[in-house]
């Protein structure tokens, strides 16, 4: 290949395939870019792991036994097992902050002009980032599971079901990273995206079945908790891991069919927030 081409209209660019094939390809190229970046800024990944580990230890040893769990009696191990699904689920939702900060950062650097002037798939910059965050979430999950096993957590219904539970957790994390994407596109700085990605997570995760039995809540909050997407995933995991100690104290549909509810909620979040994010990305100047 010489530095110049003879024919005026010659370009080396193959005609874009368009459609879903190109979308997947471009997203993977962008995911690889983000993974390389994560590997070169390992402190980000490491901090991202310390926090969940701390949560596991805090809940296991500080709160352990202080909060009564129906069916557990005085059994500390049973309590730890019961709590773990909530801690796992809360941790995967932290992907929101990471995705938001990463995208806010990208949007305010010159590099975004390069991407926006390339014939690449429209959502690839965002999808690439969320996929990379999914990989990071999976890594964090591995570390957490090891920790949880050390403090006494066990699965009781076999590996297949446990893996299904893990899948639901990762899907929830992926869905939340799209919420993060929209936040990242809406704010001016990565710092704002981080706090904007975290503040609403606490009410969301605490107004659920994750850390307290919902029948201890006032009726209104009990309904909120029952229909909270977060509760569905927690409940599904408890059942799939065999960590549920007593019958679920609610007739609400998501509590009776938590795995389906979790799946549907996550897919719904992905569809809504991906659509909004891609639209916002395209209109951002």
């Amino acid at each position: 290949m010489a530095a110049t081409s003879a024919a005026p209209k010659l370009s080396d660019a193959p005609v874009p395939k368009g459609g879903i094939v190109q979308s997947v390809h471009d997203s993977l190229v962008m995911a690889r870019r983000n993974l390389i970046r994560m590997a070169r800024i390992p402190e980000m990944v490491i901090f991202g792991m310390i926090q969940p580990v701390m949560f596991v230890l805090l809940f296991a040893y500080v709160f352990g036994g202080a909060i009564g769990v129906p069916g557990a009696g005085g059994d500390k191990t049973a309590y730890r097992e019961f709590m773990m699904a909530g801690i796992f689920a809360q941790t995967v939702t932290f992907a929101t902050a990471g995705a938001g900060a990463g995208i806010a950062d990208d949007m305010h650097k010159g590099l975004i002009d390069r991407f926006r002037s390339l014939p690449m798939a429209r959502g690839a910059v965002l999808t690439g980032r969320t996929l990379a965050d999914l990989v990071q979430t999976a890594l964090v999950m591995v570390v957490m599971i090891v920790c949880a096993l050390i403090v006494g957590w066990r699965i009781h219904d076999g590996l297949i079901k446990a893996l299904a539970g893990l899948g639901l957790l990762l899907l929830l994390g992926y869905a939340f990273s799209w919420i993060g994407a929209l936040i990242g596109l809406s704010v001016r700085t990565p710092e704002a995206a981080t706090s904007g990605g975290l503040i609403w997570l606490f009410p969301l995760t605490f107004l659920s079945n994750a850390f307290v039995p919902t029948d201890s809540l006032p009726t209104f909050l009990q309904h909120v908790a029952d229909w909270n997407p977060f509760s569905a995933t927690v409940q599904a995991c408890r059942e799939l891991f065999g960590n549920q100690l007593a019958p679920v104290p609610s007739d609400a549909w998501p509590m009776q069919h938590p795995a389906w509810a979790s799946l549907l909620y996550s897919l719904l979040i992905i569809v809504i927030f991906r659509t909004l994010s891609v639209r916002k990305y395209r209109s951002a100047a």
Binding site: T4, S11, D12, P14, G110, L111, D113, R116, S117, P119
Partner: protein, 347 residues
Amino acid sequence: MPGAIYAEGLVKTFGDVRALDGVDLDVPEGSVLGLLGPNGAGKTTAVRVLTTLLQPDSGRAVVAGHDVLKAPVQVRRSIGLSGQFAAVDEYLTGRENLQMVGELYQMSSRSAKARAVELLEQFNLTEAGDRSAKTYSGGMRRRLDLAAALIVRPPVMFMDEPTTGLDPRNRMMLWEVIESLVAGGTTLLLTTQYLEEADRLAHDIAVVDHGKVIARGTADQLKAQTGGERVEVVVHDPALLGTATEILTAFSKGGSTVDKHTRRITVPVAGGAKLLAEVIRELDSRGIEIDDIGLRRPTLDDVFLSLTGHAAEADQAVEGEASEAAKPGASAGAGVGVVGTAGEENK
């Protein structure tokens, strides 16, 4: 048939600022347009509109045969962009940056890799190719960005101040790269603050100010429009400045400008080298010692300054009232600004 880059009545406002205020452009296929203009003139905004990064408030633009508003994707397939600020991923190496861009142009990963090697070589980055771009100097980043813009040898290129921050060797290198691209049929829109660069590379020049194209033509046409030759004399003895100015005014086509501080007198003339010899003889016979004398033809700097500064009006005032000019008043002061600045940049 409209050219490879065509714009009609582009308007873009940011709040109160009219960054583009009715810009028309037409760049024939295979030619180079140099977009000149002072800071804030609207050059970058024009480039951003033409490269689909920004939507104009009104107006129409067609690039490589595709409307930027109606068919942005087709436009993006046909263009390469090197923006004013280097667009590279700091945490990726130079090689990874180029490869990524190649793959986003839908090249296979193998050809993207091969192209990255070529471009690193061409832009003198082979040695730094496997370091993260964070460790690059400003000029190295710039070159990496330019390389990324050239990955697919696009039919239409946009370069926003491509040589800003490059050392002379790399600037020459880039000029050669650009010339060979253009020889290969690429159409280029280039913005620059280096008028020498526009003079060398651009077939046509458009001067932009306050979002409007205020002059266009070839470099020679613009120079001719600005005015002919001038004689510049630096007198040794400040006391003789008045006498010398009288002598020079006699040769002048109209007026003179005097800078007391540098003891420099400038007069527009017609007559070339022969006249210069006469001026020297005359000054010599009157016993006026000079430090420097020269015949200056207008440069693009003069064109630029006279078109975009207030110098144009000041010059006319000087020419209109020759007697005024001998007294270093307000008009002379303004006029000196033109010659002084231009002279300095030419060193």
